[in-house]
Amino acid sequence: MASHQTGERPGAGEPVRSPPSGSAVLEVKNLSKTYARNQVHALDRINLTIRDGQFASIIGPSGCGKSTLLKIMAGLFPPSAGQVLLTGTPVQGPRPDIGMMFQQATLLPWRTSLDNVLLPIEIRHGSRAAQSRRGLAGELLSLVGLSGFEKAYPGELSGGMAQRVAICRMLVTEPSVLLLDEPFGALDELTRERMNEELQRICTERSATAFMVTHSIAEAVFLADVLFVMSSRPGRISEVIEIDLPRPRDFSVTTEPDFGKIVHHVRQQLDLGAQL
């Protein structure tokens, strides 16, 4: 575990570097966001870099600006200042090489699982292209243990199953970058652990770069190569923690002392932020 305190000079100066493991895929540079409508200063000079194949988690108190950051990174709305670079080019709108997932599965209830998975292809390349990828979508569904549920409607799935369909929908366009906003926040603990292991397997298999917002310290530490801790009002990155627990990790790692140490440290940082 290596950690960099940035609290003394919040957000200013050099972007915080993680050890050179690959080229930078996502770079956030001096990013600030003020919501004009209510003058909420949601993000203040955020700097971060995520390298190729890295899994980054971000954790922080509610309302500190995590979702705002993620949505700006996805090109869903513009920052007030600063910029986001995706593989070197500035993000100025939605990009096809990004896959997204939210806390709710956001499946369309009038479409079967398979048709939900095919939705991004249908939108980008039309129905015919979507039809030609049915095989691929079916494979994705069986990859997450949902073979036999291709024709099921979301109303017939459990929360965990629906979230797995959402994972497939995110993966079907083979995005190189995954942006996840509390993807498993609505699930029970056991399902959540299983989904975490599944997500880890998928990301390793595809060597995808991922950025995940979470409220669970254990989840953040379990999944991440690098963990950003945020403090609120205005939202800043208060600490960057490198997590070098060996991979692949399974949930027995959570009982190990190293894991406990990191979790303890993160909790202290969050409590520290809460006192400010």
């Binding site: 939605p94 997204m100 956001t106 369309l108 980008r124 979301p154």
Partner: protein
């Protein structure tokens, strides 16, 4: 470590939970409907038998039923009641279709565009506050005593709820899903067609059901105030002759017309909006 979870005296007695549903709710549906109906008829018959109200002004259930049967025979034989019913049916259905189309179109404009929301909606709200029935003579002046003025009246009364429900339905699409569509690079048209419109369907159907009832009202009011040859005119004439039993029979057929339209819409809704939870006001599926 043990945890005490039972109190001593209840420890060995098996606990039987009482069914909490009230006695009234446990009665089978067919029985409760029949009983309630008979009760209503009984009160009606009693009011007539006890001469609380003059027989001329309030015919009893039996006479009314007799009149309904008699008219039914006439309708089957295609007499003047049949002709009137057919005319009113046309007015209601055409008025409804026009209201549905206009309401849906304006609803999409109001729900989808800032212009619609800011500029069009205030006029529509103001319009809705007008006493619409008062326009009946105007429609007669414009469109004559035939069915056109009644179609116009039905349209006029029925289209507003479709606008409101369509616009509300479009706005009901889940915010994260809208974000997701944006992230997938969906065009505005794609978002509308693949997300917002399907999400709006339950609302739109609710609006259409209201419009169905309103278009019957519109057509009949149009006939009361603008003559013509529909059922409304027959009702007016029968009332003038103090044939209240016939009035009741005709009103019965009018409500059948409304119910039929309502039922057809409900049937289509259940076919199309299969994913939506059951609607508690949906009589057919209870």
């Amino acid at each position: 470590m043990t945890t005490q979870v039972t109190t001593d005296d209840a420890a060995d007695a098996p606990v039987v939970y009482e069914e909490t549903e009230s006695l009234l709710d446990r009665v089978p549906r067919a029985v409760s409907i029949t009983v309630l109906g008979l009760l209503g008829l009984g009160i009606w018959q009693a009011a007539v038998s006890l001469e609380l109200i003059s027989r001329i002004l309030l015919p009893g259930p039996a006479e009314t039923f007799g009149e309904i049967v008699e008219s039914a025979a006439g309708i089957v034989a295609r007499d003047h009641v049949f002709d009137a019913l057919w005319i009113t049916t046309q007015e209601v259905i055409l008025g409804f279709i026009a209201a549905a189309a206009l309401g849906f179109g304006l609803g999409v404009v109001v729900g989808e565009t800032k212009f619609g929301q800011r500029a069009v909606m205030p006029y529509l709200v103001g319009f809705n506050a007008l006493p619409k029935v008062a326009f009946a003579p105007v429609f007669v002046a414009w469109l004559g005593f035939g069915i056109n003025s009644k179609i116009m009246m039905a349209l006029f009364i029925a289209f507003f709820p479709v606008i409101v429900d369509t616009a509300a339905g479009l706005a009901s699409a889940d915010r994260d899903t809208v974000m997701l569509f944006r992230a997938m690079g969906a065009s505005r048209w794609q978002t509308l067609r693949k997300l917002k419109l399907p999400a709006a369907l339950p609302f739109i159907f609710a609006g259409l059901k209201t419009a169905a009832v309103f278009s019957v009202v519109g057509a009949v009011v149009g006939e009361y105030l603008g003559g013509g040859k529909g059922l409304g005119e027959l009702v007016r004439l029968s009332a003038q002759q103090l044939r209240i039993d016939r009035v009741f029979a005709l009103i019965f057929y009018l409500s059948l017309l409304g119910l039929a339209l309502f039922a057809v819409i409900g049937w289509i809704e259940r076919k199309i909006v299969f994913w939506h939870r059951a609607d508690p006001t949906d009589v057919a599926s209870a």
